[in-house]
Symmetry: C2
């Protein structure tokens, strides 16, 4: 769930007066999302999403995120589009938070992933990478390889409470991953969090991508590795090769993967797995009792990590 900030009627009315989007019709908190407060906003002009950016988002990054969404939408990607106020400004203040209105996207995110979802996700990811190519500003990936060691250090004390020996296992895995981390692969703007709850489908077709607040400038094939982790494992945490193949082939049909990118897939997948294992572990240890957020089990990504550490080459993923 995610409504951390209550918006009073008066504050909302004042805020909306800065936009030319019609009169307020309905306003409800949205349960999805864990980083920001999201509201479904209906006006006489249509449907929108109002987002209040909470503490995890660095305000300095917000213009980059909103600019990327504007750019992608202009280049044919179906993603939420920032709505600019009467003064042209998209990023404003509401209830002491930075806030923005974006367009509403129809569609439903798949609660149960099927192989048929994975091809469209691969295509959409590749299209996103191509469309982002001429967005000039860059953003360092705070949750990329440089960020993993500090994150692990801050979680080590509680790791053994999650699983015996987990701290030592993650230290060893991280050393191995960082030593093997590929250099010189094509870089661009990546979504970095394209999980099923960020992809909408409608009548069997992908209808939109949302939640660009982890986007950054990093290795493009790493984004594919994130999707392999997010979309291609069964509930028992075995890899579904049919899904992996569908994802990678569809991606490569739009943006061909070089031999170097293919060869790097195992370590990129290891990196993606440890990134989510580490943030989940950190949250697991540091989420206060009674918090509004459901903690996600870090072991789900530790087990993916173990799989990827065993993968000899890209053939493990059906390529």
């Amino acid at each position: 769930m995610a409504v951390y900030t209550e918006v009073s009627d008066d504050a909302l009315a004042v805020f909306l007066a800065d936009y030319a989007i019609g009169d307020l019709v309905a306003f409800r908190g949205i349960a999805e999302g864990v980083e920001n407060s999201n509201f479904s906003l209906r006006t006489t002009g249509g449907d929108y999403i109002l987002t209040l950016y909470e503490k995890r988002v660095d305000p300095a990054d917000l213009p980059w995120f909103l600019g990327l969404m504007d750019h992608l939408a202009e280049h044919g990607i179906t993603c939420p589009r920032p709505v600019h106020g009467r003064d042209g400004v998209a990023l404003r203040q509401l209830c002491g938070r930075h806030a923005a209105i974006t367009t509403f996207l129809p569609g439903v995110w798949p609660r149960r992933v099927r192989p048929e979802h994975c091809g469209p996700v691969g295509e959409a990811l590749a299209a996103l990478h191509l469309a982002g190519a001429d967005y000039a500003p860059t953003r360092r990936n705070a949750l990329g390889p440089e960020g993993w060691e500090p994150l692990l250090e801050r979680s080590l004390r509680g790791a053994s409470g999650v699983a015996p020996g987990l701290g030592a296992e993650l230290v060893a895995a991280l050393n191995r991953i960082l030593a093997a981390w590929p250099q010189g692969l094509p870089v661009g703007h990546i979504h970095a969090d394209l999980f099923p709850d960020n992809v909408f489908f409608l009548e069997g077709r992908l209808s939109g991508l949302i939640d660009f607040y982890f986007a950054a400038t990093d290795i493009l094939a790493y984004d594919l590795a994130v999707c392999l982790n997010a979309w291609c494992f069964e509930a028992d945490l075995s890899l579904n090769v049919t899904r992996a193949r569908a994802l990678c082939r569809a991606y490569a049909a739009i943006r061909p993967l070089s031999a170097a990118e293919r060869a790097a897939l195992p370590v990129l997948c290891q990196g993606a797995a440890i990134r989510f294992a580490l943030t989940r572990l950190y949250d697991w240890i540091n989420t206060p009792a009674g918090a509004l957020v459901t903690r996600k089990d870090p072991m789900e990504y530790v087990r993916r990590l173990r799989f990827h550490l065993e993968a000899r080459d890209e053939h493990a993923y059906g390529l």
Copy 2:
């Protein structure tokens, strides 16, 4: 927040096939509500709310609730209307839960109550009481006076952890309330939970009432007492007499209050305050750490209770 049950795409598709409301366009969890899982559902036919009834609701009561909503909607009350399937059935099963689709009501609930809200709430409550008069089935109020003693007993062990002496204070107050509980006042169907988050406003007018899942057959003026507690106290828990007067006068203009009902207001308000103090206390003590629900402070209603115990007569409420 409230999404306790995830609905898979397949299950949703099968479920919707039983309705003639068009094709799925969007489906999102709603953050509001603490008892059930609620989703905003858009189809090519319009907007709806899908509710999955969770453990707190007795399935045996659901036909009564849905029947009441149907009845009230037919009698001019703007409330969610159960949508009946192709077979005429409104109450179905989804993901192992009882589930129903209701119509979507435009409007926004007031995050900050102003005196101007209270008149319309009083009018709407009285209209609800009149409209319910010829709905024949009845429902015992499980959270009425008979339910308070068992609820207190199950919370006594943890009460002193919330505030020193709280258990003894509540035992004494409850004895006094039950001894003075009025007999023979007019009875009917009451909403029993008409808090600000269950009342929508649009352009300054009351646009609808929602969440009838605490409704029951009980003393009508007790419902007004619930509203006095819910709408008429300041953040510092002092009574705002302007709001109380607006609420009661508007109510009485539609459904006149007898002298006996007026005289009973202090004890009815005491009862309403202890009812919410007791359920909040129970939840406070019994909500597991890390649960999705924000616990609400029972002391907010203990302090209202203290106010009502001091009230000499109905003049304390500006009548």
